[in-house]
């Protein structure tokens, strides 16, 4: 027996949602062929088939293969000619280092006999088995320091921007618009571009890097903090406002404790991003590992490039583990 339902329940999928999904799909199809997604899929598929040995050759597989193979073996040791090292003291060698003497035959014209004579020239080399690894570690540390200070500057600028730009804390809607526009402007200038200008202003080195990272990240921390502040549960805020609490008191007592986990997650992500971007802006001379990466890449020393890429990967992985623990502690 069929019983009529007394109540109508709201539909999960209505005509509007279906129409929106179809429209989104059509839009993706249209833009997809403009950015050659179809070709990307075809080439990638071909590369996979070639790797599996099903088809003969693939342009993508060959291109990637030749460059990736050059990254190995990675370069860990360093080798320097002793005569070129200033104040070299053979009694005090660096850790694990040794001196290698290389004999090279040299043909010279003897001015007395006027004949070409062969004789051996001995050159001493300082070989450090992990010399280049230590060098990369020191450069990586510099990048981490640049990223850390970039994050500190981002928080110092981003938090006031967020307080002025959050509708529930801002003193006036006009100030909110100005603060939102300011953080959008900071976000709009990519680190790489601002680093180019800052390198001209401050010279090569970490200052330009710190400022470029800090200003850009201040833009998105200003936005993310403000969004988190606006999303905080309004009930405690309303209760305190009803009792005449000042805006900053409401922020301190009713918003900050709620938004703190998101603030911390955003800040840690900013730091993580700054480490990665720190490697990129080094390319334009703003200090750190990027400067080293660019130098080695330009000299076709792909073994060194491989070491640098692995170092960046290890640092990002370590930061991710630390960030996970920090987020769990502050949940």
């Amino acid at each position: 027996m069929k019983t009529a339902l007394p109540w109508r329940f709201p539909a999960m999928l209505n005509a509007r949602t279906v129409a929106l999904l179809v429209a989104a799909f059509l839009l993706l199809c249209y833009t997809g062929q403009r950015v050659e997604i179809d070709r990307m899929l075809a080439l990638s598929g071909e590369a996979m088939l070639a790797t599996a040995g099903i088809t003969e050759r693939s342009q993508v597989a060959e291109g990637l293969g030749t460059t990736l193979i050059q990254l190995a073996p990675i370069q860990l040791s360093s080798r320097r000619e002793v005569s070129r090292i200033e104040d070299f003291d053979p009694e005090r060698l660096p850790l694990f280092a040794r001196i290698e003497t290389v004999e090279t035959p040299v043909t010279e014209l003897n001015p007395e006999t006027l004949r070409h004579e062969e004789r051996a020239v001995h050159t001493a080399w300082l070989v450090e088995p992990f010399g280049y690894a230590f060098h990369v570690a020191a450069k990586m540390l510099e990048t981490i320091e640049i990223a850390l200070w970039g994050t500190v500057i981002a928080v110092l600028i981003g938090l006031p921007l967020a307080l002025l730009g959050a509708s529930n804390v801002t003193p006036h809607p006009a100030i909110r618009s100005i603060a939102r526009a300011a953080s959008a402007f900071l976000r709009a200038v990519p680190e790489l571009i601002s680093a180019l200008f800052l390198v001209i202003a401050y010279g090569f080195g970490p200052i330009a890097g710190v400022l470029a990272l800090g200003l850009h990240a201040a833009g998105f921390l200003g936005k993310f903090y403000a969004d988190d502040i606006e999303d905080a549960d309004p009930l405690p805020q309303a209760a305190l406002a009803a009792m005449g609490a000042a805006r900053l008191t409401i922020w301190r007592c009713a918003i900050l404790p709620q938004a703190l986990p998101q603030h911390i997650a955003c800040t840690l992500y900013t730091f993580d991003r700054n480490v990665r971007m720190g490697a990129v802006i080094g390319l334009v001379g703003a200090g750190g590992i990027g400067q080293e990466l660019k130098g080695r890449f330009d000299m076709y020393e792909y073994g060194h490039v491989g070491t640098i890429l692995i170092a960046i990967f290890i640092v990002i992985l370590a930061l991710d583990l630390i960030a996970c623990r920090a987020r769990r502690a502050w949940r």
């Binding site: 549960d233 009930l235 405690p236 309303a238 209760a239 305190l240 406002a241 009803a242 009792m243 005449g244 609490a245 000042a246 900053l248 008191t249 301190r252 007592c253 009713a254 404790p257 709620q258 703190l260 986990p261």
Partner: protein, 241 residues
Amino acid sequence: MIDVRIIDLSLRHPGGAEALANVSLDIPAGQFCAVLGASGAGKSTLLRVLAEITAPSTGSMLYCGAPSDTALRRRIGLIPQDFALCGRASVARNVMAVADIALWRSFIGLYPQSERARAARLLAALGLEETHLARRADSLSGGQQQRVAIARALLHRPAIILADEPVSSLDPATGEATLALLRNEARDLGATLICSLHQPDLARRFADRIILLDAGRIVFDGTPAKFDGDITRPRLLAVGQ
């Protein structure tokens, strides 16, 4: 001492339901005024309008003959029905949130001795312990959270206390003790206490005056002695028809 005057207050929800209809009241300073009514009668709405959390469609409120301003709001103590504590903040920070102290002190949690003493006295009188101070508000039980909300509302020595079902999460004995404390504090402060309640017997025992709401209208306004104690009759009749 602040008296409250409510003039022709109405609130119509966007859907068309009338939450308050032409409510007018004169509440003298220092009076304990209990607002009774069945669920959905408009008790919480009235208190939310008085606390200026919800704006009325028409009508106004006067405090000592003047509309409210920031200075007056600082003299209001609000106990919301949902407690409205900041769950992730400690009990201490919640209670001290509206303490009348310098902003920087509240920022770093450096509360003056007098405020600490008052908070400790209120929380102890409400049956909480020192160990609760450092705990996060959302780690407490509903009844404990409600008592923290009461302490927060009383800490800054308010002249008007707006309490929205302040004993709803408490067992009868604790509820009675809490309501007695609320009345005694209000008396000591000379505060006007407007308190919505579900329990007619508590209202009759503690309040100076009872107001019964039904569908947003005042259907009874008088002394506890004249009140017959039936708050549910009008709504149940409506459902039964």
